[in-house]
Symmetry: C2
Subunit: 305 residues, 2 copies
């Protein structure tokens, strides 16, 4: 089944302890699509400026990402420049230029409106709500958000919660949104405001999937080198939603598998700059990593006499 993703398509300039990259493909929609396209067809909606090297997006198209929802507008593209120091969990934003993204009003092409899976990547909650007015009864709507919207668009974000099935956010954002320090309490608060499922991402410390009746935890893969953490969360979401779309199964057992696929895709994303690693991996690589996750947490319980 197909996934519709609405998000940013940007140019990133990143500095990590291991190297530097300038004006490489970035943005939540880009990472999500690069990841999800390993598992299901993707329809991407976003905006780029007149300066965007659109030919570089051809690699996504070749992977099954339908780019007919990418609008090219007059003006500069969304650019982000950031740096990671030794503690790769925290990005330091050096510059953000929204460019054409600041006037983005997503228009969902007619042929995208019946996508069964919808991912509203991290954009203004008002725009996320606007997307939902244009689509027809998806099987699952998921959204992401960030600290900026929690601060500046709280009422809209709360309204959005009432209309989505699932939200992904990181631990700091969950605490900020709910004003609850304990993540179990935070997840319950969010579910009380709408979503049936809450995924709280903890970066290198793994991710929780909360449902109304259970908690599932998947660790992050203990990589020997994290090259560039940019896009890990969106690649996680791509693996997660892509797996659900491929299998079309929203049972809890399958949601758990989807979290592991998400974690696997997130772990690949950080092995190189931009979407480079996501572009080169194969189904076998993904299969192998998912099995490594299984071994990482595998134990059987026997109560000793």
């Amino acid at each position: 089944m197909t996934v519709l993703c609405v998000g940013s398509v940007a140019l990133d300039s990143v500095e990590t302890p291991f190297g530097k990259a300038d004006d490489v493909l970035g943005g939540s929609g880009t990472f999500f699509s690069a990841s999800a396209s390993h598992l299901s067809p993707v329809q991407l909606v976003g905006v780029v400026g007149s300066d965007y090297p659109v030919e570089k997006l051809e690699r996504l198209r070749a992977r099954g990402v339908d780019l007919s929802g990418i609008e090219q507008a007059d003006g500069r593209s969304f650019r982000w420049r950031g740096r990671y120091r030794h503690d790769l969990n925290a990005a330091e934003t050096l510059e953000t230029h929204l460019g054409v993204f600041s006037d983005f009003r997503p228009k969902i092409p007619e042929q995208f409106r019946r996508a069964p899976f919808v991912f509203l990547a991290n954009i203004d909650p008002r725009l996320q709500l606007g997307v939902l007015e244009q689509v027809e009864k998806p099987a699952l709507v998921a959204c992401d958000t960030m600290n900026f919207w929690i601060e500046s668009r709280r009422p809209d974000l709360i309204a959005l919660l009432g209309k989505v099935d699932l939200i992904t956010l990181n631990d700091g954002e969950a605490r900020q949104l709910t004003e609850k320090f304990n993540l179990v309490h935070a997840a319950r608060w969010i579910m009380d405001h709408g979503p049936r499922f809450v995924i709280i991402k903890k970066g290198e410390h793994g991710a929780f999937l909360f449902t109304r009746t259970s908690i599932f935890f998947a660790p992050a893969y203990p990589l020997e080198q994290i090259f560039d953490p940019t896009g890990a969360g969106d690649s996680f979401a791509g693996g997660f939603i892509g797996f659900l779309a491929r299998t079309g199964d929203l049972s809890e057992a399958n949601m758990r598998r989807a979290v592991v696929y998400g974690s696997a895709m997130g772990s690949f994303a950080v092995e190189r700059f931009s979407i480079e690693r996501l572009m080169e991996i194969t189904r076998d690589d993904i299969h192998t990593r998912v099995n490594e996750f299984r071994r990482l947490v595998a134990f059987d319980v026997e109560m000793p006499a």
Copy 2:
């Protein structure tokens, strides 16, 4: 099989966002014993001052902890006073009075010297080395340590690494000891200096067990209320070593189970002040929590077509 533990027996005064406790039982040896005694007999070696309420240790004796290695010396007992704020991962030490602990030279009673499992809790590495000279070929020797010894007793600690099978330490300590930020690299560095097994504890973010050929990860239990984190690490070690001593099985599959028992015992310890919760739980409570851990990480892998 029996576990010999050499560690501190202290009086703690603790303040958390949820309450306050004064002069309650504390110390690494105390928490370890309270935890391990649920699974195997424990022999505890430590020192207390003339002011210590030794009658309060009777609860440990009643649980099968042999206290004949506890020496009562003239002087004041080891006292620690600390505070936790909202972020319960970090204790703020307000006062430490070593008292008689500063002259502690562990003497292992004759009847303790053939214990098959030995845990050298967090004390001066020189004393830990001294203990090893007094015991006869244990099946497994494990040790703990802390930032203070890593700084002030580095050569002794390195010498100790050459004589233990396993070390438990937290992520910050592993980084400090090895000067490697990446935990996979840090664990490898430590194994290159002796231990076959390295457990890196990440507090609320779980724990890794590294062997020369594998990595196992167990999350911390997502408690709805962490009341007082004091002693979580020693209770983890008690559950871990206690389980190994009970089963007498050092296979990797059993080491993994032991980590889960350790995590379960650590999760109980933080539910009340001091060893209170460890004193009231039953085998059924432990069994139930271990099964909750299993559910927390359970997933099956199926590669979608």
